[in-house]
Amino acid sequence: MKTLTVSVVTPDGPVLEDDFDMVSCKSENGELGVLPGHIPLVAPLSISAVRLKRENDVTLLAVNGGFLEVQPEKITILAQSAEKPSDIDVERAKKAEERAKQRLQSKQDNVDFHRAELALKRALNRINVTQ
Protein backbone atom coordinates (compact mmCIF):
# COMPACT_ATOMS: atom_id res chain seq x y z
CA MET A 1 0.00 0.00 0.00
CA LYS A 2 1.15 3.47 -0.85
CA THR A 3 2.09 5.79 1.94
CA LEU A 4 2.59 9.50 2.43
CA THR A 5 5.63 11.05 4.02
CA VAL A 6 4.43 13.59 6.51
CA SER A 7 6.72 16.19 7.98
CA VAL A 8 5.60 18.70 10.54
CA VAL A 9 7.80 21.77 10.85
CA THR A 10 7.57 24.64 13.30
CA PRO A 11 9.86 27.62 13.91
CA ASP A 12 11.31 25.74 16.89
CA GLY A 13 12.41 22.88 14.66
CA PRO A 14 10.91 19.76 13.08
CA VAL A 15 8.30 17.98 15.23
CA LEU A 16 7.69 14.80 13.32
CA GLU A 17 8.64 13.07 10.11
CA ASP A 18 7.19 9.67 9.26
CA ASP A 19 5.12 7.67 6.78
CA PHE A 20 1.34 7.47 7.12
CA ASP A 21 -1.59 6.11 5.11
CA MET A 22 -3.86 9.09 5.43
CA VAL A 23 -3.93 12.58 6.86
CA SER A 24 -7.07 14.33 7.88
CA CYS A 25 -7.23 17.81 9.20
CA LYS A 26 -9.43 20.83 9.44
CA SER A 27 -8.72 23.59 6.98
CA GLU A 28 -10.39 26.97 7.22
CA ASN A 29 -13.05 25.73 4.80
CA GLY A 30 -13.78 22.49 6.58
CA GLU A 31 -12.53 18.95 6.98
CA LEU A 32 -9.92 17.77 4.54
CA GLY A 33 -8.67 14.22 4.07
CA VAL A 34 -5.58 13.51 2.03
CA LEU A 35 -4.58 10.14 0.62
CA PRO A 36 -1.39 9.28 -1.27
CA GLY A 37 -1.32 10.60 -4.84
CA HIS A 38 -3.17 13.81 -4.13
CA ILE A 39 -2.58 16.72 -6.50
CA PRO A 40 -0.38 19.53 -5.15
CA LEU A 41 -2.43 21.65 -2.79
CA VAL A 42 -1.97 24.46 -0.32
CA ALA A 43 -4.56 25.14 2.36
CA PRO A 44 -4.51 27.15 5.58
CA LEU A 45 -5.28 25.18 8.74
CA SER A 46 -7.47 26.25 11.61
CA ILE A 47 -6.49 25.75 15.23
CA SER A 48 -7.36 22.08 15.42
CA ALA A 49 -6.20 18.51 15.70
CA VAL A 50 -4.50 16.83 12.77
CA ARG A 51 -5.11 13.07 12.55
CA LEU A 52 -2.39 10.94 11.03
CA LYS A 53 -3.53 7.38 10.23
CA ARG A 54 -1.32 4.37 9.77
CA GLU A 55 -3.18 1.05 9.47
CA ASN A 56 -5.22 1.05 12.65
CA ASP A 57 -3.17 3.56 14.56
CA VAL A 58 -4.12 7.20 14.74
CA THR A 59 -1.63 9.81 15.84
CA LEU A 60 -3.00 13.16 16.91
CA LEU A 61 -1.25 16.49 16.76
CA ALA A 62 -2.46 19.78 18.20
CA VAL A 63 -1.73 22.33 15.52
CA ASN A 64 -1.94 26.07 15.99
CA GLY A 65 -2.29 28.12 12.84
CA GLY A 66 -0.19 27.55 9.78
CA PHE A 67 -0.95 25.63 6.65
CA LEU A 68 -0.74 22.37 4.81
CA GLU A 69 1.29 21.80 1.69
CA VAL A 70 0.48 18.64 -0.25
CA GLN A 71 2.56 16.97 -2.92
CA PRO A 72 1.67 13.54 -4.35
CA GLU A 73 3.92 11.61 -1.99
CA LYS A 74 4.69 14.16 0.63
CA ILE A 75 2.81 16.40 3.00
CA THR A 76 4.36 19.28 4.87
CA ILE A 77 2.56 20.96 7.71
CA LEU A 78 3.96 24.36 8.57
CA ALA A 79 2.58 25.60 11.85
CA GLN A 80 3.52 28.13 14.48
CA SER A 81 3.27 25.33 16.98
CA ALA A 82 2.47 21.63 16.77
CA GLU A 83 2.47 19.29 19.73
CA LYS A 84 2.09 15.58 20.27
CA PRO A 85 -0.30 14.61 23.07
CA SER A 86 2.63 13.46 25.21
CA ASP A 87 4.26 16.90 24.99
CA ILE A 88 1.23 18.84 26.10
CA ASP A 89 1.11 20.26 29.59
CA VAL A 90 -2.56 19.69 30.43
CA GLU A 91 -2.45 21.75 33.62
CA ARG A 92 -1.09 24.71 31.76
CA ALA A 93 -3.68 24.36 29.02
CA LYS A 94 -6.46 24.24 31.61
CA LYS A 95 -5.17 27.37 33.27
CA ALA A 96 -4.98 29.09 29.90
CA GLU A 97 -8.57 28.03 29.24
CA GLU A 98 -9.69 29.56 32.55
CA ARG A 99 -7.85 32.79 31.85
CA ALA A 100 -9.25 33.08 28.36
CA LYS A 101 -12.79 32.46 29.59
CA GLN A 102 -12.48 35.11 32.25
CA ARG A 103 -11.22 37.59 29.72
CA LEU A 104 -14.06 36.79 27.35
CA GLN A 105 -16.59 37.43 30.08
CA SER A 106 -15.08 40.75 31.11
CA LYS A 107 -15.85 42.18 27.61
CA GLN A 108 -13.48 45.02 27.04
CA ASP A 109 -12.31 46.28 23.66
CA ASN A 110 -12.30 44.25 20.46
CA VAL A 111 -8.64 43.41 20.10
CA ASP A 112 -8.51 41.79 23.49
CA PHE A 113 -11.64 39.87 22.72
CA HIS A 114 -10.20 38.45 19.53
CA ARG A 115 -6.99 37.42 21.21
CA ALA A 116 -8.74 35.80 24.12
CA GLU A 117 -10.87 33.86 21.68
CA LEU A 118 -7.79 32.53 19.91
CA ALA A 119 -6.17 31.67 23.24
CA LEU A 120 -9.30 29.77 24.26
CA LYS A 121 -9.30 27.86 20.99
CA ARG A 122 -5.68 26.89 21.44
CA ALA A 123 -6.25 25.75 25.01
CA LEU A 124 -9.34 23.70 24.11
CA ASN A 125 -7.55 22.16 21.18
CA ARG A 126 -4.68 21.05 23.38
CA ILE A 127 -7.04 19.60 25.98
CA ASN A 128 -9.06 17.76 23.34
CA VAL A 129 -6.00 16.18 21.83
CA THR A 130 -4.88 14.72 25.14
CA GLN A 131 -8.25 13.11 25.81
Binding site: S7, P11, E28
Partner: protein, 286 residues
Protein backbone atom coordinates in the same frame (compact mmCIF):
# COMPACT_ATOMS: atom_id res chain seq x y z
CA UNK B 1 59.66 49.54 41.93
CA UNK B 2 56.43 48.39 43.55
CA UNK B 3 56.75 46.41 46.73
CA UNK B 4 56.57 42.64 46.75
CA UNK B 5 53.23 42.65 48.48
CA UNK B 6 51.67 45.03 45.95
CA UNK B 7 52.72 42.89 43.05
CA UNK B 8 51.49 39.75 44.73
CA UNK B 9 48.11 41.38 45.34
CA UNK B 10 47.83 42.34 41.69
CA UNK B 11 48.73 38.87 40.53
CA UNK B 12 46.06 37.38 42.73
CA UNK B 13 43.35 39.76 41.60
CA UNK B 14 44.21 39.24 37.93
CA UNK B 15 44.14 35.52 38.56
CA UNK B 16 40.59 35.84 39.92
CA UNK B 17 39.45 37.94 36.97
CA UNK B 18 40.87 35.35 34.64
CA UNK B 19 38.90 32.62 36.35
CA UNK B 20 35.69 34.56 35.80
CA UNK B 21 36.34 35.39 32.17
CA UNK B 22 37.37 31.81 31.52
CA UNK B 23 34.10 30.56 33.03
CA UNK B 24 32.09 33.05 31.01
CA UNK B 25 33.90 31.98 27.90
CA UNK B 26 32.93 28.37 28.44
CA UNK B 27 29.33 29.22 29.28
CA UNK B 28 29.06 31.29 26.10
CA UNK B 29 30.62 28.52 24.06
CA UNK B 30 27.97 26.05 25.13
CA UNK B 31 25.19 28.60 24.67
CA UNK B 32 26.51 29.36 21.24
CA UNK B 33 26.39 25.69 20.32
CA UNK B 34 22.73 25.51 21.26
CA UNK B 35 21.85 28.80 19.61
CA UNK B 36 23.48 27.61 16.44
CA UNK B 37 21.39 24.45 16.57
CA UNK B 38 18.21 26.45 17.12
CA UNK B 39 19.03 28.55 14.11
CA UNK B 40 19.58 25.40 12.07
CA UNK B 41 16.33 23.85 13.28
CA UNK B 42 14.51 26.89 12.01
CA UNK B 43 15.90 26.67 8.49
CA UNK B 44 13.50 23.95 7.15
CA UNK B 45 10.51 25.98 8.29
CA UNK B 46 11.63 29.22 6.69
CA UNK B 47 12.77 27.52 3.49
CA UNK B 48 9.43 25.81 3.03
CA UNK B 49 7.50 29.00 3.74
CA UNK B 50 9.62 30.88 1.27
CA UNK B 51 9.11 28.18 -1.35
CA UNK B 52 5.33 28.31 -1.07
CA UNK B 53 5.18 32.10 -0.97
CA UNK B 54 7.38 32.40 -4.02
CA UNK B 55 5.47 29.75 -5.95
CA UNK B 56 2.25 31.65 -5.36
CA UNK B 57 3.83 34.93 -6.28
CA UNK B 58 5.33 33.49 -9.47
CA UNK B 59 2.38 31.44 -10.65
CA UNK B 60 0.06 34.36 -10.82
CA UNK B 61 1.03 37.91 -11.55
CA UNK B 62 -2.30 39.51 -10.73
CA UNK B 63 -2.18 38.35 -7.13
CA UNK B 64 -1.90 41.40 -5.00
CA UNK B 65 -1.51 41.92 -1.33
CA UNK B 66 -0.49 45.07 0.56
CA UNK B 67 2.59 43.29 1.85
CA UNK B 68 3.86 42.71 -1.65
CA UNK B 69 3.33 46.24 -2.89
CA UNK B 70 5.51 49.25 -2.47
CA UNK B 71 3.73 52.36 -1.29
CA UNK B 72 4.82 55.91 -0.65
CA UNK B 73 6.97 56.01 2.42
CA UNK B 74 5.77 58.38 5.08
CA UNK B 75 7.21 56.54 8.00
CA UNK B 76 9.91 53.90 8.20
CA UNK B 77 10.13 51.23 10.86
CA UNK B 78 13.47 49.98 12.11
CA UNK B 79 13.72 46.69 13.93
CA UNK B 80 16.97 46.54 15.89
CA UNK B 81 18.22 43.44 17.64
CA UNK B 82 20.70 43.91 20.48
CA UNK B 83 21.56 42.00 23.64
CA UNK B 84 20.45 42.58 27.22
CA UNK B 85 23.87 42.36 28.74
CA UNK B 86 27.22 43.79 27.81
CA UNK B 87 30.61 42.11 27.87
CA UNK B 88 30.09 40.96 24.32
CA UNK B 89 32.84 42.91 22.64
CA UNK B 90 31.72 45.03 19.73
CA UNK B 91 28.45 43.13 19.29
CA UNK B 92 26.05 45.89 20.31
CA UNK B 93 28.30 48.75 19.30
CA UNK B 94 28.49 47.61 15.70
CA UNK B 95 24.76 47.22 15.20
CA UNK B 96 23.90 50.46 16.95
CA UNK B 97 26.52 52.50 15.15
CA UNK B 98 25.37 51.21 11.80
CA UNK B 99 21.74 51.85 12.74
CA UNK B 100 22.41 55.36 13.97
CA UNK B 101 24.37 56.27 10.86
CA UNK B 102 21.57 55.01 8.64
CA UNK B 103 19.01 57.07 10.50
CA UNK B 104 21.10 60.21 10.33
CA UNK B 105 21.70 59.74 6.65
CA UNK B 106 18.10 59.09 5.70
CA UNK B 107 15.97 61.19 7.97
CA UNK B 108 15.77 64.82 8.91
CA UNK B 109 13.28 64.62 11.75
CA UNK B 110 12.21 62.03 14.27
CA UNK B 111 8.68 61.99 12.81
CA UNK B 112 9.86 60.05 9.79
CA UNK B 113 10.74 56.86 11.56
CA UNK B 114 10.06 54.69 14.53
CA UNK B 115 12.11 52.03 16.24
CA UNK B 116 11.23 48.58 17.47
CA UNK B 117 13.99 47.37 19.68
CA UNK B 118 15.02 44.05 21.18
CA UNK B 119 17.42 44.06 24.11
CA UNK B 120 18.25 46.45 26.94
CA UNK B 121 21.40 47.89 25.38
CA UNK B 122 19.53 49.03 22.28
CA UNK B 123 16.63 50.30 24.35
CA UNK B 124 18.86 52.50 26.47
CA UNK B 125 20.72 53.70 23.39
CA UNK B 126 17.45 54.95 21.87
CA UNK B 127 16.18 56.42 25.13
CA UNK B 128 19.37 58.38 25.60
CA UNK B 129 19.18 59.88 22.12
CA UNK B 130 15.44 60.46 22.25
CA UNK B 131 14.70 58.20 19.30
CA UNK B 132 11.02 57.29 19.05
CA UNK B 133 10.55 53.74 20.36
CA UNK B 134 7.30 52.14 19.22
CA UNK B 135 7.77 48.77 20.85
CA UNK B 136 10.44 46.99 22.75
CA UNK B 137 11.13 43.70 24.38
CA UNK B 138 13.71 43.21 27.11
CA UNK B 139 15.02 40.07 28.71
CA UNK B 140 14.71 37.69 25.77
CA UNK B 141 15.84 34.21 26.79
CA UNK B 142 19.22 32.92 25.65
CA UNK B 143 17.48 30.24 23.62
CA UNK B 144 14.28 32.02 22.59
CA UNK B 145 11.14 30.09 21.61
CA UNK B 146 8.94 31.30 18.82
CA UNK B 147 6.31 32.06 21.48
CA UNK B 148 8.67 34.58 23.15
CA UNK B 149 8.89 36.79 20.10
CA UNK B 150 5.55 35.96 18.48
CA UNK B 151 3.68 38.84 20.01
CA UNK B 152 6.24 41.49 19.15
CA UNK B 153 6.62 40.10 15.64
CA UNK B 154 2.91 40.05 14.91
CA UNK B 155 2.42 43.50 16.39
CA UNK B 156 5.19 44.78 14.16
CA UNK B 157 3.64 43.19 11.10
CA UNK B 158 0.31 44.62 12.21
CA UNK B 159 1.83 48.11 12.28
CA UNK B 160 2.63 47.68 8.63
CA UNK B 161 -0.87 46.40 7.81
CA UNK B 162 -2.40 49.35 9.67
CA UNK B 163 -0.20 51.69 7.62
CA UNK B 164 1.47 53.06 10.71
CA UNK B 165 4.75 52.30 8.97
CA UNK B 166 5.27 51.97 5.24
CA UNK B 167 8.44 49.94 5.20
CA UNK B 168 10.38 47.91 7.70
CA UNK B 169 14.11 47.35 7.99
CA UNK B 170 15.79 44.95 10.33
CA UNK B 171 19.28 45.40 11.83
CA UNK B 172 21.10 42.50 13.41
CA UNK B 173 24.39 40.66 13.60
CA UNK B 174 24.52 37.80 11.16
CA UNK B 175 26.34 34.74 12.44
CA UNK B 176 29.07 33.90 9.95
CA UNK B 177 31.23 31.74 12.18
CA UNK B 178 32.27 31.54 15.81
CA UNK B 179 34.84 34.27 15.29
CA UNK B 180 33.06 36.42 12.75
CA UNK B 181 29.73 38.23 12.89
CA UNK B 182 28.56 40.67 10.31
CA UNK B 183 26.15 43.55 10.77
CA UNK B 184 23.29 42.97 8.36
CA UNK B 185 20.45 45.18 7.21
CA UNK B 186 17.50 43.68 5.40
CA UNK B 187 14.32 45.17 4.11
CA UNK B 188 11.55 43.04 5.53
CA UNK B 189 8.41 44.77 4.35
CA UNK B 190 7.12 45.17 1.74
CA UNK B 191 8.29 41.71 0.75
CA UNK B 192 10.18 42.21 -2.47
CA UNK B 193 12.69 39.47 -2.83
CA UNK B 194 10.94 36.12 -2.74
CA UNK B 195 12.34 34.27 -5.72
CA UNK B 196 13.36 30.90 -4.38
CA UNK B 197 16.65 29.43 -5.47
CA UNK B 198 15.22 26.13 -6.68
CA UNK B 199 14.01 27.60 -9.97
CA UNK B 200 11.10 25.39 -10.96
CA UNK B 201 8.13 26.02 -8.69
CA UNK B 202 5.41 23.43 -8.23
CA UNK B 203 1.97 24.34 -9.48
CA UNK B 204 -0.42 24.13 -6.57
CA UNK B 205 -4.15 23.98 -6.16
CA UNK B 206 -5.23 26.58 -3.66
CA UNK B 207 -7.92 25.97 -1.14
CA UNK B 208 -9.96 28.21 -0.99
CA UNK B 209 -8.02 30.67 -3.21
CA UNK B 210 -4.73 32.45 -3.56
CA UNK B 211 -5.77 35.72 -1.98
CA UNK B 212 -6.90 34.07 1.21
CA UNK B 213 -3.84 31.95 1.40
CA UNK B 214 -1.62 34.98 1.02
CA UNK B 215 -3.66 36.60 3.78
CA UNK B 216 -2.52 33.83 6.14
CA UNK B 217 0.85 33.17 4.65
CA UNK B 218 2.46 36.57 4.30
CA UNK B 219 2.14 37.71 7.92
CA UNK B 220 3.42 34.30 8.98
CA UNK B 221 6.30 34.66 6.56
CA UNK B 222 7.21 38.12 7.83
CA UNK B 223 7.03 36.94 11.43
CA UNK B 224 9.22 34.00 10.63
CA UNK B 225 11.82 36.32 9.10
CA UNK B 226 11.89 38.34 12.31
CA UNK B 227 12.25 35.20 14.38
CA UNK B 228 15.00 33.98 12.07
CA UNK B 229 16.90 37.22 12.52
CA UNK B 230 16.52 36.95 16.28
CA UNK B 231 17.93 33.41 16.32
CA UNK B 232 20.77 34.51 14.11
CA UNK B 233 21.40 37.48 16.39
CA UNK B 234 21.41 35.29 19.48
CA UNK B 235 23.95 32.93 18.00
CA UNK B 236 26.12 35.94 17.12
CA UNK B 237 25.72 37.36 20.61
CA UNK B 238 27.02 34.21 22.26
CA UNK B 239 29.81 33.94 19.72
CA UNK B 240 30.81 37.57 20.24
CA UNK B 241 30.76 37.14 24.00
CA UNK B 242 32.83 34.00 23.74
CA UNK B 243 35.46 35.75 21.63
CA UNK B 244 35.51 38.79 23.91
CA UNK B 245 35.93 36.62 26.98
CA UNK B 246 38.62 34.57 25.31
CA UNK B 247 40.69 37.65 24.56
CA UNK B 248 40.08 38.89 28.12
CA UNK B 249 41.41 35.60 29.48
CA UNK B 250 44.40 35.79 27.15
CA UNK B 251 45.15 39.34 28.25
CA UNK B 252 44.92 38.32 31.89
CA UNK B 253 47.34 35.49 31.21
CA UNK B 254 49.82 37.91 29.64
CA UNK B 255 49.46 40.36 32.49
CA UNK B 256 50.09 37.62 35.04
CA UNK B 257 53.26 36.62 33.17
CA UNK B 258 54.55 40.21 33.21
CA UNK B 259 53.69 40.65 36.86
CA UNK B 260 55.33 37.36 37.84
CA UNK B 261 58.48 38.49 36.11
CA UNK B 262 58.61 41.76 37.99
CA UNK B 263 57.68 39.95 41.21
CA UNK B 264 60.67 37.64 40.82
CA UNK B 265 62.93 40.54 39.97
CA UNK B 266 61.84 42.42 43.05
CA UNK B 267 62.34 39.32 45.18
CA UNK B 268 65.83 38.84 43.78
CA UNK B 269 66.67 42.49 44.38
CA UNK B 270 65.54 42.20 47.99
CA UNK B 271 67.73 39.12 48.54
CA UNK B 272 70.73 40.79 46.92
CA UNK B 273 70.24 43.80 49.07
CA UNK B 274 70.05 41.67 52.22
CA UNK B 275 73.29 39.88 51.33
CA UNK B 276 75.03 43.16 50.62
CA UNK B 277 73.92 44.43 53.99
CA UNK B 278 75.17 41.36 55.82
CA UNK B 279 78.50 41.46 54.02
CA UNK B 280 78.76 45.18 54.73
CA UNK B 281 78.06 44.50 58.42
CA UNK B 282 80.69 41.74 58.60
CA UNK B 283 83.26 43.98 56.89
CA UNK B 284 82.60 46.76 59.38
CA UNK B 285 83.24 44.37 62.31
CA UNK B 286 86.63 43.20 61.04
Amino acid sequence: MASLRDIKGRIESTEKTKKITKAMEMVSASKMGRAEQNAKGFVPYSEKLKEVVSSIAQSNTDVSHPMLQKRDVKKTGYFVITSDRGLAGAYNGNVLRHFHQTIQKRHQSADEYTVIVVGRVGYEFCKKRNLPIAKSILGVADQPDFADIKELASETVQMYSDEEIDELYIFYNHYVSAISQKVTTTQLLPITNIQSGSGVATQYEYEPNQEQILEVLLPQYAESLIYGALLDGKASEHAARMTAMKSASDNAEELIDDLSLSYNRARQAAITQEITEIIGGVAALE
